[in-house]
């Protein structure tokens, strides 16, 4: 499939001596050296990426990393020094003005960091701007503008002036203006950067919800890694004008490409990056009616676990037994083989596979392993509380998603429970 948006070998150099700067770049000189020698500033160097339809591609970098320059090259606000920017196969880096204008009107909309709303127009008129530029008749564009405003929850403020709205609401108008023309691609240049943290959080969540419905191709620029990890299907980390790593949130957090990325990843909220699936073990369980207490104890010893789930014949979770309880029951009864059903706890924590670790804290701190179930209540995995905390603290960040419990872990566990 052809990528919706494809960026190939794009360079942007600001200044007069761009050719000289380009050749110096090829020789591997740094941004500072080139600036000293030629006075030209390297904005973006050798950007290469594809964005698929319906994907949120986040470009994350600090100020001066070239991310704003990059996003402006995607709709031709800044022409690249060299390279191709293809939208549906059409190169906008090298096309006539009217072609570029058509693409801007039909396919690509932009949302700005400082909203860039027109202060002399009402909210509805602002939202209708793209339609006005396209020449849509007044009545129809108002209707469509209001529909877009309703999508972002601002339908009732259509006739306010932007200056009467709070920052968060103003950016909703900015978003509505972007959505009103029904573009396929949405460029968002640090859209939530100027909002206070609570509102930012709210807007991020809303964007996620909105995107589920709209399925736009979004290029999202941010300086906030948490935001990038939350929103991005894929994330590119930018430094000094080039991509240092491109990957999914989990890839970037669990395997940072270099020290620069690692430094960012160090203090992010891992609870919002990883899900139950990332830390769950294989769905080891004993089956009710088939396995005896002794079987269960042996299985736990083999697996180095202190508790084990019990499933029925259809692999549905019936309960959980702990080694402690089984051992106690064996001693109390004097009988060698207590029945699983009697010892089994029917109160157990259960989650879906895509639940964020953030939401597993509570369940994990109860001490019991957490059952990961599918929509038919079938056991698909088991999350050990230790695995949650280990992932959150980044201890097994370098390892893959399913770490076998180490001997040390087991010792700690023994100390805690016996």
């Amino acid at each position: 499939m052809q990528a919706k948006l494809s960026v190939k070998n794009v360079f942007k150099i600001f200044g007069d001596k761009t050719d000289e700067a380009l050749s110096r770049l090829e020789q591997g000189e740094s941004k500072e050296q080139i600036f000293e020698a030629t006075g030209a500033t390297v904005g973006v160097r050798d950007a290469n990426f594809d964005v698929d339809e319906g994907e949120i591609f986040v470009v994350m970098g600090l100020s001066g990393s070239g991310k704003s320059t990059l996003v402006r090259m995607l709709n031709g606000l800044i022409p690249p020094t060299s390279g191709e920017v293809l939208i549906d196969g059409e190169d906008i880096a090298d096309c006539k003005k009217d072609v570029l204008r058509r693409i801007r009107r039909e396919k690509v909309a932009m949302v700005f960091q400082h909203f860039a709303l027109f202060p002399h127009w009402t909210v509805a008129e602002n939202a209708a701007y793209g339609l006005k530029v396209k020449g849509v008749p007044a009545a129809e564009r108002r209707e469509r503008a209001i529909a877009a405003l309703e999508k972002v929850g601002l339908g009732s403020r259509a006739d306010s002036l932007p200056s009467e709205l709070s920052g968060g609401m103003q950016q909703r108008v900015g978003l509505a203006r972007g959505l009103a023309t029904d573009p396929q691609i949405l460029l968002m240049d640090e859209p939530f950067g100027a909002l206070d943290p609570l509102i930012r959080r709210e807007m991020q969540d809303e964007l996620v919800v909105l995107q589920k419905e709209l399925k736009k191709t979004i290029v999202f620029i941010t300086h906030d890694l948490n935001e990038a990890l939350l929103l991005g299907d894929r994330i590119a980390i930018m430094q000094d004008g080039r991509f240092v790593q491109v990957g999914t949130a989990q890839e970037i957090v669990s395997a940072p490409a270099d020290d620069y990325v690692a430094a960012f990843v160090a203090d992010i909220d891992r609870g919002r990056v990883f899900t139950a699936e990332d830390v769950s073990n294989a769905a080891e369980a004993v089956t009710l009616g088939e396995a005896s207490a002794e079987d269960a104890m042996r299985a736990m010893e083999d697996l180095n676990r202190h508790a084990l789930y019990v499933v029925d014949g259809a692999n549905r979770v019936a309960g959980v037994v702990t080694y402690q309880d089984l051992a106690a029951a064996t001693l109390d009864n004097g009988a060698p083989n207590p029945i699983l059903e009697d010892v089994m706890l029917t109160e157990y924590p259960t989650v879906d596979a895509d639940v964020q670790l953030y939401d597993l804290y509570g369940a994990a701190s109860a001490g019991l392993p957490i059952a990961v179930t599918d929509d038919k209540d079938r056991l698909v995995g088991v999350v050990e509380p230790e695995a949650v905390f280990a992932q959150l603290s980044g201890e097994n960040g370098e390892q893959d998603a399913v770490p076998p419990p180490s001997v040390e872990d087991e010792k700690i566990k023994e100390g805690a429970h016996v």
Binding site: N75, L77, L100, R101, R102, I103, R104, R105, V108, A109, M110, F112, H114, A116, F118, P119, H120, T122, V123, A124, E125, A128, Y129, G130, K132, V133, K134, A138, A139, R141, R142, A145, D159, S160, L161, R177, T181, L187
Partner: protein
């Protein structure tokens, strides 16, 4: 003591004389004469209109505009001031002066606003325009009165041309400034949605610069008023002529009467145009809306009315 003048003297004055008398006037006099036709027509039309309009109606219209844009105080001042002018017998002269001012400002706007817009879009044009405006503003107006008389003759229209030269710079400067000061991110947003240059000018730049442009218009108006007396030296009529006649006859009373008339007119026009400009502070009104507002009794139409989307 040596000075460069010992080495060589430049006959600058005779160069200019040769240029104006020897070349410009013989070759271009008909062209300049033809160029003043639209000014003459506008002026005559306006002058006839203001003189035809009964004094009370004109006064009422100005008082209403003053009330709308500048408040009750200025409205009362307008009523009393215009009545005073009428009672000292200078109403027709005041109307002639008003026609001259309106004509000058109109032509300044017609020339100055497009020039300012073009200058805002091109640094090169602005770098050429700017020194010309500097010269126009600083050169004593008496210097260009003589060549104007040579080229255009004497009368009302040459007076207005002198006024236009004197009063043009602020409107060009402030239009340029207003357009250039429109926030960069709004220009970027306008580009990003695929607008053409005209669409951007009309939808974004001009409305957002309107307040600054109105300030320029106000400055131009004030400068035009200050040229009234000087323009009368080359045959323009109105209150300037009254002042000049008084001056010539050492008639202090007559000169003062004319001067007071100019001051009253100046205050009324200044306050009204300033008020119009400041309304654009809160909300920028389209030209059509501004004209409609002028004739409405209550405050400006609330923005964001459903009917005027776009």
């Amino acid at each position: 003591m040596f000075s460069p003048g010992d080495l060589m003297t430049i006959p600058f004055d005779s160069w200019i004389n040769d240029f104006v008398r020897g070349w410009l006037v013989p070759n271009f006099r008909p062209a300049f004469r033809a160029a003043q036709v639209p000014i003459t027509m506008t002026l005559n039309g306006l002058n006839g209109f203001f003189l035809w309009m009964p004094m009370l109606i004109t006064t009422a219209a100005f008082a209403l505009a003053a009330w709308r844009y500048a408040g009750r105080g200025i409205a009362i001042f307008t009523l009393l001031g215009f009545a005073f002018i009428d009672m000292i017998g200078l109403w027709p002269q005041t109307m002639t002066t008003l026609a001259m001012i309106v004509t000058s400002v109109l032509f300044c706007a017609v020339i100055g606003i497009p020039l300012g817009i073009l200058a805002a879009r091109s640094d090169r044009l602005w770098s050429v325009t700017r020194p010309v405006l500097d010269i126009m503003q600083t050169i004593p107006s008496f210097v260009y009165l003589v060549p104007i008389v040579m080229l255009f003759g004497v009368g009302m229209t040459p007076g207005i041309i002198a006024t236009i030269i004197f009063a043009l710079p602020p409107i060009v400067r402030l239009t340029n400034l207003g357009i250039r000061n429109v926030r960069g991110d709004l220009i970027e947003a306008s580009h990003a949605f695929g607008s053409t240059g005209w669409q951007m000018l009309w939808d974004v730049q001009f409305p957002l610069a309107l307040r600054t442009i109105m300030a320029g218009l106000n400055q131009t108006l004030m400068l035009a008023l200050s040229m009234v007396v000087i323009a009368a030296l080359i045959g323009a009529g109105g209150l300037g002529l009254v002042v000049n006649t008084g001056l010539g006859r050492l008639d202090v009373g007559g000169a003062t009467a004319g001067g007071v008339g100019i001051v009253i007119l100046a205050i009324v026009l200044d306050r009204i145009t300033q008020g119009m400009g400041e309304q654009n502070n809160v909300q920028t009104v389209s030209l059509r809306q501004a004209v409609i507002n002028l004739f409405r009794l209550r405050g400006p139409e609330p923005q964001g009315e459903p009917g005027k989307a776009g």
